[in-house]
């Protein structure tokens, strides 16, 4: 009789939820399976509708008598559930957000409170809300596929796991592990999850459901004793984390909130801990920080999404020039399955290049990014070639030779002659005109700029530079190529310095100016770190290399006149061989990992450190030149949208991500105030380089914003 009624209701429901994102069916032994399979998307996400739907399924499950268990599984190829729908979140107002947070928590709590055994069968990524759903289940089984990962990236988006994550994770893995996961935002593999007790079984994908069913018969797991989950230990951990995060907490309030809620939660009743999650996330949603971080994340996802068809895979690339950039690019490509011919005219340079590539792979092994076999295979994909060889079968040639116009022009003439008609040609120039190189080579439509940043394996951004006559199809192919190799492409127009270097250089030069006028190296860097940059400008110049920085600055000065006003101290340091990290001395003295300010350059300046600058003053001068230049970039439409400029700066330079980017900063601070400050600076410092650009002045007058709606899509 009962089986009968079950069948009928199952039938009814399958009709009722035909257009839904969650399918329901029954397995023998009275087990219900919910399959998350979002319609029209390759990923499962939680939006309001999906949560409501899940809620209805739970209504049903509660009503069916004698149900033994519930299995949650995904119908997608490589994603379990990717978390909350951030697109939807970014469009919600504060009231909607609160409702959304409450709804998710309520639904998940219902699952946690079900009397039957619940098992999450996880294959693919379980992130954020998806991972919290898994926590609400009694048991979790995971596939051993490399795509299967679980993690809580909320804090990196300026929020915290508030659908029970902060409350339930410590119960399962212990407070110490839970804090590590929540604060770092990093995901872990199935095996690591098993080790920390997060997964109850790790099995091949083929046995996933079977194992999940077996788990149901095991019932709810016994509660493990967690040594950290008590008042004393949690207070200790809270103190440790607060101390460790003291630098970041100011700009990333989510970190502090997450630590607070999680550590306090272990000694509170579940309902109160959940309440605390609610209060915290409401507070965090009201800040610009989370909006900017979510916005940047979405931009990043958009940049990653393959735009070209999958069949357009580029598999043979010649990299010309085995210097730092050439070797870096070759290393990155080979690690991503691309066959690389690394060319150089000098055998010794190739030897050094190959050695540095090997070192990069070995570093990768040390950091657990790769293993010896993968490294060998990747190294095998690189063929060092001395001298000119035919390139007829290459899909793409990336030139990474010395930054000299005549040299590049001659090189491209040779590349055009040697390559096949379908070979795409790209230059990795950081500041030279792609259009001029292309014209000189005699095949302007075939040449594009593909600007990688140093160090290639760490910098995700790639500027794709369309020359005046570059074939638009070629630009599209390059965007798709950047995505293929896991980089973030931004299309920019061919103007000196493109976006990143152009905005970065005035900032770096301003830092050098400040140093000349008496500010201490440490103060300058501290001020900008305080602003939210990952690294101060002096340190950054040392990393880039003073020679490279001066070279780019010279190109920009040639194009834009004295706006940069390259400081005399730089050329003096270059003369003395102080090149930064590569010569172990620049503004800092570098000794392995340690760096302390170099007293040498300061000594050259008469009564250096006579003038004292306040931190605010330092921030203002360096920050505002950057904002001013960013506005100019947008004014000249160097990129197609202001988001793109902001995105390039955040991804390419680490520009304080919680501020959203330089253009977003202009909106936040208000153009009028910025123009006022800049005008003051022009007057007091007699520095014409501070003159506000036309766009800023217009914005100041009209009171308009660059972005029509903060945080939203344009």
């Amino acid at each position: 009789m009962k089986t009968e009624s079950l069948k009928t209701s199952a039938h009814e429901s399958s009709v009722a939820v035909e257009t839904s994102h969650i399918r329901r069916h029954f397995m023998p032994d009275r087990i219900c399976v919910l399959t998350f399979d979002r319609i029209g998307s390759s990923a499962n996400v939680f939006d309001r509708a999906t949560l409501m739907e899940l809620d209805r399924h739970i209504d049903f499950v509660e009503r069916v008598p004698n149900l033994r268990g519930l299995v949650l599984v995904s119908g997608k190829k490589s994603i379990f559930i990717a978390g909350a729908d951030l697109h939807a979140v970014s469009r919600m107002d504060t009231e909607e957000l609160r409702g959304f947070a409450v709804l998710g928590q309520r639904v998940f709590s219902r699952i946690a409170n079900l009397s039957l055994t619940t098992v999450a069968a996880i294959h693919g990524a379980a992130m954020g809300g998806g991972a919290e759903l898994a926590l609400a289940c009694d048991r979790r089984v995971m596939s051993d596929d490399s795509a299967t990962r679980i993690g809580w990236p909320e804090t990196s988006l300026g929020i915290l796991p508030a659908w029970g994550g902060c409350t339930r994770l410590p119960v399962i893995v212990g407070l110490a592990k839970a804090l590590e996961l929540i604060v770092s935002g990093k995901s872990v593999s199935a095996l690591a999850a098993k080790e920390m007790g997060l997964a109850d079984a790790v099995i091949p994908i083929g046995c996933l459901i079977e194992t999940a069913l077996e788990q149901i018969w095991l019932g709810s797991p016994e509660k493990r004793f967690q040594g950290w989950n008590n008042y004393v230990a949690s207070t200790f951990l809270r103190t440790v984390y607060n101390h460790r995060l003291s630098n970041q907490r100011r700009h990333y309030p989510a970190l502090g909130q997450a630590v607070d809620v999680t550590t306090r939660g272990v000694s509170l009743p579940v309902s109160e801990s959940l309440k605390a999650e609610q209060v915290a996330i409401e507070k965090l949603f009201s800040t610009d920080t989370s909006k900017n971080l979510i916005h940047h994340f979405l931009q990043q996802e958009r940049a990653k999404k393959r735009s070209g068809p999958e069949s357009c895979v580029i598999s043979n690339v010649a990299v010309v020039g085995a210097g730092v950039m050439g070797a870096g690019i070759a290393h990155w490509l080979a690690g991503r399955g691309v066959h690389v011919q690394l060319q150089d005219v000098r055998a010794e340079q190739l030897g050094r290049g190959m050695e540095s590539i090997q070192k990069l792979f070995q570093d990768g092994i040390r950091r657990g990014k790769t293993n010896a076999t993968e490294m060998r295979n990747a190294l095998d994909r690189i063929t060092p070639v001395q001298g000119d060889v035919p390139l007829r079968h290459m899909d793409l040639v990336i030139e990474a030779a010395t930054e000299r116009m005549e040299l590049k022009c001659a090189l491209f003439r040779s590349l055009v002659a040697r390559s096949g008609p379908r070979t795409m040609l790209a230059t990795n120039t950081s500041a030279l005109s792609v259009t001029r190189i292309a014209e000189a080579a005699g095949a302007p439509e075939r040449i594009v700029g593909l600007h990688f940043f140093n160090p290639v394996h760490r910098m995700q951004l790639v500027e794709i530079v369309a020359g005046r006559r570059t074939d638009p199809e070629l630009v599209r192919r390059m965007v798709s190529f950047a995505q293929q190799i896991g980089k973030l492409p931004v299309v920019v127009s061919d103007s000196p310095g493109f976006v990143v270097n152009r905005i970065l250089m005035p900032y770096l030069m301003e830092a050098a100016h400040l140093f000349e006028s008496g500010a201490a190296v440490g103060d300058i860097d501290a001020a900008m770190c305080d602003f939210g940059m990952p690294m101060g400008p002096m340190r950054l110049m040392d990393e880039i290399g003073l020679d490279v920085a001066a070279d780019v600055a010279r190109t920009l000065t040639r194009a834009f006149g004295d706006r940069l006003g390259s400081p005399a101290i730089l050329s003096r340091m270059l003369d003395q061989g102080l090149l930064g990290c590569k010569s172990s001395a620049g503004f800092y003295l570098h000794d392995g990992r340690n760096a302390k300010p170099n007293p040498e350059p300061a000594r050259w300046l008469a009564d250096h450190s006579a003038t004292r600058f306040s931190r605010a003053e330092l921030q203002q001068r360096m920050g505002l030149v950057m904002l001013n230049e960013a506005a100019r970039c947008w004014e000249e439409r160097v990129a197609i949208a202001p988001e793109q400029i902001d995105f390039a700066m955040v991804a390419g330079t680490g520009f304080a991500p919680f501020r959203g980017g330089p253009l977003r900063c202009i909106d936040t601070f208000g153009a009028a105030r910025i123009v006022e400050c800049l005008t003051d600076m022009v007057a007091s410092r007699a520095g014409l380089r501070f003159a506000p650009c036309v766009l800023l002045q217009e914005l100041a007058e009209s009171g308009a914003k660059i972005f029509s709606k903060p945080g939203g899509k344009k």
Binding site: H339, N377, D380, T383, V385, P390
Partner: protein, 425 residues
Amino acid sequence: MIERLVIVDGVRTPFCRAGTEFASLSADELGRVAVASLLARTDLDPHLVDEVIFGCVGQPAETSNIARVISLRAGIPERVPAVTVHRNCASGLEALTQAHQRMCAGLGSVFIVGGVENMSRSPLHFSFRAAEKFQKLARAKTLFAKVSAWAQFRPSDFSPRSALQLALTDPVCGLNMGQTAELLARDFNITRSEQDTFALESHKRALAAHQKLAEEICPVYVNGRAVIADNGPRTESELDRISKLNPVFDRAHGTVTAGNSSQLTDGAVALLVMSESRAAKLGFKPMGILTGYAHAGCEPARMGLGPVYAIARAETATGLALAQADLVEINEAFAAQVLAVVAAAQSPEFARKQLHRDTTVGGISLEKLNVNGGAIALGHPVGASGARLVLTSLLELRRRNGHRALVALCVGGGQGSAAWLERNK
């Protein structure tokens, strides 16, 4: 009409004395570098390759069928088969002749052939008796069984046998290769000083040909350094010492020394070969053509004379007489052995008794023989030498505007291999 096999292009790694530059590289790595450089140099689409055939004599245990490992590592598609061939010192030439046979059999038209050897890494073996004891130890479960298994070992069980020594000893006649050379020196009355003079000439020619040899070499990058040249040829000052070396194989009365024998060497050679029509279709201009070849057997104890038998046989096959060669390459296993070949080739008695023919094979002028030095100076990575002779002689034909070259090798175990090549005009 049967299609001819053409040699489109070729390249080799530098040849480096065992235990020097390439000691840290595996044999498959050397082979990979050669094949990858060949692909880069010719811009060949690797999908066009029908098979990869590589010679290797001392195949490392970890890369059984080393040709397959080289092929995959060099980026040749997985569906392309690869085979390792072994005819001792002629393995590199065997790879080429097998490509020809496959082409004739209709089994493909584009091949990458070559040879590879890393003699630095030749392993040491435990004796079989010791291996048995190790097995017993591995099977022992209880502590008592383990202890008693250990107790069976004797100090001599731990003295290893050199795989290289084993490989260089003929199991049939029981002679070491050097001893077979001593035999020839005695048979043909070749003095120590004749051998040393020949060896000196080999070094001098190799040194003088430094620039020419660079054309066939691709650099190998080892720990940030580019190795770009052979390191076998000795400088003038070192050459003085050749006459002072002691005989190695017959210490009391022998004449064969380390100085007048080929060197133990690491290196790899890769050649791109195709049927003539396929090369034309793909737009390649080949270096040369494989006109004909022969492998022949002889007495194992006098394996050094193998080339004479092979050249005679190749003459029957092609109708080409020694005199028609503009260049002759005879692999210099030992100075005594090459000189014995030269002597036997013009001996009417040898022709009658051994070759059963009325005329001699012919005289070999030293002007035409191993003009850029041979294995005594450049080294003899056994699996690779045969392919190197083909590459070296075709390039030299081009330089001299010559027409035909004859390459021949003696083969341990009592064989000889010879191949006629002609320049593609």
